[in-house]
Symmetry: C2
Subunit: 195 residues, 2 copies
Amino acid sequence: MKNEEEKIGSFCLKEYLQEVEEFHGHIAPGLVVGGFMVEMAKRHIPKGVLFDAISETSQCLPDAIQILTPCTVGNSWLRVIDLGRFALALFDKYTGEGVRVFLDAAKLEPFPAIRSWFFRTRPKAAQDEEKLLDEIKAAGEEILGVERVRIRDELIGKQSKGKIALCPVCGEAYPASQGDMCSGCQGQAPYLSDS
Amino acid sequence: MKNEEEKIGSFCLKEYLQEVEEFHGHIAPGLVVGGFMVEMAKRHIPKGVLFDAISETSQCLPDAIQILTPCTVGNSWLRVIDLGRFALALFDKYTGEGVRVFLDAAKLEPFPAIRSWFFRTRPKAAQDEEKLLDEIKAAGEEILGVERVRIRDELIGKQSKGKIALCPVCGEAYPASQGDMCSGCQGQAPYLSDS
């Protein structure tokens, strides 16, 4: 266990935390747990398999995956399917066979600081951040669960967006499959007055 | 213009392309255009304003934003709202006032390689990647459009997931607002046989 506590992937823990600080902005507890999760998942994938990733939450975990694997949101190898569960899957990008790692709530009894962070039973300002990080490092993979999964067929491989059309309303290019105008002009745009 | 062609953010173009290769896996044309887009948007935001980001596509652009700004998917400062439009917005995280930058299809006439890449009129294998990248670098911001936007109120600020519950089916923690069981167990999980 000691060795696992000191390494996350090819980084030593200290190096990983530096990467986290640089990419994510600060050393969030979720990124530290996430580092152990990604590493555990990678060990359960046969060597040499090209894998894609799924994060079941948009919080923290996507960044652990983006730091520790070749999968990013922009290269489409990481997909965020926000179920609000603190879990991730790595899977063979051709067969969909893979592994899912999750934070196992049933294993948190010996770790009160992790427990109150995870269940948000204490306001963030009242959290003892140092104690929490110490507990996470000490726990390592002890608080995780792992299971084999197979990804649904429609999520395997590259999803092409098909033919491109010009939207008659905004004049921008969009996937023609969205209909006669782009989904932004159909009301999905996040702006108060969309062009 | 020359200066803009040679720099992307605080990186010179060459350094940025190295970052792209390391993070995204390869120098994708969308990341090069995306670099110019992020940089143009940043210049239109008043100095010192703390900004969030939206990418209107999941392809390429999120990675340009994650490389060139403090906004990442995992820290929630970047949200991907996949409208399939090659556009991004940076906005003041407190007021929602910001700027949207898009690839302007109407400006592509002088750039045939960018045009056929953007509209996918030529199979990827038949693309002259070098010519395309040269055209993108030469075009710089000339192919972009920029406009002021205001983000919808519900997208401003941190969205709390509220109370956490234990799912009676899978036993994992989830936002109680999803209902009596987690959305994964309600059928949203991406696996063939979900635990």
